[in-house]
């Protein structure tokens, strides 16, 4: 079946512009996560959606970052007034949480470059 997909795969933007990154999770997965990965680094948690619960936004680095998940499926991560330090790969993952499984399935990521 289809895995997690993300678009665009690459995004180059000028400093100060807004960007939107999209994530299509695996159908039926109730949990959705966004991470940021800088070059040669681990995954930095950004935000987590679970069903109809309020999202866990504790990892968002500033108020320029926001995310929404419409209809419990597709999610959009928005970065306003981008800065050069926002350059990274943004990864999305989804999980079914079925049977207490925490396995997260990752998309290929969106590589964001802010010039």
């Amino acid at each position: 079946g289809a895995g997690v997909s993300q678009s665009p795969s690459n995004k180059v933007t000028e400093k100060g512009k807004d960007v939107e990154l999209r994530c299509d999770p695996i159908s039926g997965h109730t949990a959705l996560y966004w991470y940021r990965q800088s070059l040669g680094q681990g995954l930095e948690f950004l935000i987590y959606f679970q069903g109809n619960s309020a999202p866990d936004k504790s990892g968002l680095p500033s108020d320029r970052f926001s995310a929404e998940r419409t209809g419990g499926s597709v999610s959009t991560l928005t970065i306003q007034r981008t800065q050069q330090e926002d350059s990274a790969v943004y990864l999305c993952a989804s999980s079914s949480m079925a049977g207490g499984s925490y396995e997260q399935y990752f998309g290929p990521g969106t590589r964001l470059t802010v010039t």
Binding site: Y33, G42, L43, A93, Y102, E103, Y105
Partner: protein, 114 residues
């Protein structure tokens, strides 16, 4: 505070040898651990997981060992192949929150020499 880290940033092994990648964690309340493999330009891919009520779990060519006494996790890869070259991340769930939130370590790069 909570942290998940790896002892060595890079591990170089000969093709056919066994590889051992180590991970330390600090949250004794974590009850679920997972290993991911990330190849260049791709998202992390699940390898194997283990719950805290176990100390060993085996998969295909991989074994995860959990030592809760010293809060240590390891991934063993048997007969390492060139296709195993990647960055390996360990992760733990965030305490016992049951949110599914994972805390990732910095990663170990595995290089397999032919």
């Amino acid at each position: 505070g909570e942290s998940v880290g790896l002892h060595l940033p890079t591990l170089s092994v000969q093709e056919g040898d066994n590889s051992i990648i180590n991970c330390a964690y600090s949250n004794s309340a974590s009850d679920y651990f997972i290993w991911y493999k990330q190849e260049s330009g791709k998202g992390p891919q699940f390898i194997i997981d283990i719950r805290s009520n176990m100390d060993k779990r085996q998969g295909q060519r991989v074994t995860v060992l959990l030592n809760k006494t010293v809060k240590h996790l390891s991934l063993q890869i048997a007969a390492t192949q060139p296709g195993d070259s990647a960055v390996y991340f360990c992760a733990e769930n965030e305490g016992s929150s049951n949110t599914g939130k994972l805390i990732f370590g910095q990663g170990t790069t595995l290089q397999v020499k032919p």
